[in-house]
Amino acid sequence: MAQLMWLTIALPIVGVLFNGIVGRRLGHRVVSLVGPLVVLGSFLIGAGALIELLVQGEEAVLVPLWTWAAIGSFTVEINLLVDHLSLLMVLVVTGVGFLIHVYATEYMVHKDESGHLHPDRDFARFFTFMNLFIASMLILVLGDNYLMMYVGWELVGVCSYLLIGFWHDRPDQPQDPIDLGEGEEPVRLQPLLSPAASGMKAFIVNRVGDVGFALGVFLIWSTFGTLQFTGVFEQASQVAEVTPAIITWITLLLFIGAIGKSAQLPLYVWLPDAMAGPTPVSALIHAATMVTAGIYMIARSNVLYALAPGVSMTIAFIGAITALFAATIALVQVDLKRILAYSTISQLGYMFMAVGVGAYAGAMFHLTTHAFFKALLFLGAGSVMHALNDVIDIRRMGGLKEKMRITWLTFWIGGLALAGFPLMSGFFSKDEILAEAYQDLPILWVLGIITAALTAFYTFRAVFVAFHGQPRDQRLYDHAHESGKAITFALIVLATLSIFGGLLGLPAFLFDLPNLMDNWLEPLYATLEHGAETAHLALTVELVLFATSAVVAIAGIAVAYLFYVVKPSIPQNLARSTRPIFSLLANKYYVDELYNAVFVKPGLTLARNMAEGIDTWLIDNILVDGLAKVIGWCGQQLSQLQSGYLRHYALATFIGVLVVISYFFLR
């Protein structure tokens, strides 16, 4: 089965071709069938490979496909590396991807009052891009060398751009100011970027990181002479002994790529705006899979990162600070999807913290559980949007639990998992990361635990405001209805995974059961000197950390309950009394404005000056048009010789003949 892994990539590509070429003509029902089915096929092949690896006890299978390029001694092989890490990623991508595809078959179709179905104008295009994304992501995780990873890396970026801007004709959306009660001026908010602009923003910001990644890949090649993982990792320790600086540079450059793709400080700004895309896209690309590419890349390159402790420490701190930073912004956002977007940035920060302290298995565990519950939350938010005619502002929701029982229940489960409520999947994965961080550097643990408290609070702020209390917009409330089978199916499956996903990585001291995730990923770190970095804390310390996480999560939820259900006047009063901080958070620390002033505006000015000064004036006017004008003027002058009178020509001929003859006579 592992030898058939190329099919996991080929199947979605078949879907791309089918949906892209004939999907439009065959109608949305056929596309709804083909789109998810090809992803399911990939998932089944991946599952088969998993079983094969488990039964045969193999660690890695190399699937050679073909040689892409051979230039002298430099060859690029297209091989698939099927090992424990890539299989985990394949299963997450295709598994969650399949559910989201199923969900999208309903989400992208609107049902009107009389029950008529109105599929999106570009239904087939949507599934073409979604399938293309799955194929790209699989190329990224299955490649056995950095070049294939880079190809996949860029391809997922393109898909992200295409899908964020999917509704490319929608304009910017103004946001209602936040009302702070009588006699206080409301806090004004910036309008939400249009999908087209958001897509470009995502693409351009990612480009900054991708340059770093590309340079990293170049440096790997010039240092090691190969791009294959195995070759690079074998030589890594020798190179590190001779020139440790090179390893530092490689890891740093690769990490810059990860910062862009996985939305960390300072390149996270594109992710919140990516919410302009359709919700399944937000769930699949901007929460569950693509943004985890950076984590995967670092986990894959763990041999290199283990040799660069300084860079690893930087990663851990950037992750921890991003986690806290994004969580504070999420506290006051009013757009349901944006709250989830900032929580994604924050959770990715946890994962970077984990890989930074060497807890690669912990990071991959959190990546997996996060894929489950964050996809669930996004799909829940999408279900709400679907019911409310695309309204996403939580201030216009309220009381929805009466109308949407399944969405409400599953959103609760997702919220509990995200908040790290005890025994939910997110609890175990977050706790593992926090324990590792505590062992490495307690300050990281402090940042992490504060973030955990904030996470619990803002998650349940969204839950309580959207689903509980009184309806704030009666007309919308009356319109609301539970979504159909495809949506609720995806929600229920993901909710189940969000509850039980924690079983993959139970802490050793709690139930005396094996930590499946750690064991599964063990071979990945076989070459590391320290082996897998699992926490080896005293039992009492572990228990205290465990209890702290649990208490913090419950406290966060309790405070949210107090603020938004018991006494809804508290948050408003709090916002009034801390107005400067509140408006700073509501405006996302003005980071977008800062970037606009520092990078975008000067960049645009430079571009405009170049366009007008160099291109239009110098090249177009002076060089191109100028040359044409000079030649035209010469022609004009010479054309006066052409009088149009035959006798002038005849005379010229005679004179010419005379001159020639006299020359011959007189010489």
């Binding site: 054309s639 010789l641 052409q642 149009g644 009178y645 035959l646 006798r647 005849a650 005379l651 005679f654």
Partner: protein
């Protein structure tokens, strides 16, 4: 009889005829007259050929003359056809009105 007329006379006559023809081409405006003048220049050359042929006692010049007369007949046919077409298009025989190539 002809022996008494020196060859220079023929050449002079040829030169005069040629000059009259050339002058006509340059000065006259009627296209048909211009064509006639061209013919005259050609015939002055024929005269010169024949004169030299006799003077040098060689047949080459006379062969040339037959060639030129044949070509001239063709040329006149084409030239007249062109003039007729021009006349149809432009309704003009005045060469100065036919100046669409003017720069």
């Amino acid at each position: 009889m002809i022996d008494q007329v020196p060859v220079s006379f023929y050449l002079l006559l040829g030169a005069i005829l040629f000059s009259i023809g050339a002058g006509g081409v340059l000065i006259r405006r009627n296209t048909i007259i211009i064509l006639m003048c061209v013919e005259m220049m050609m015939n002055s050359v024929n005269l010169t050929f024949v004169a030299f042929s006799r003077y040098l006692d060689s047949a080459t010049g006379q062969i040339f003359v037959f060639m030129i007369m044949a070509v001239a007949a063709v040329e006149v046919a084409i030239g007249l056809a062109l003039l007729v077409e021009l006349n149809r298009h432009k309704r003009a025989v005045n060469i100065d009105e036919i100046n669409s190539l003017k720069g």
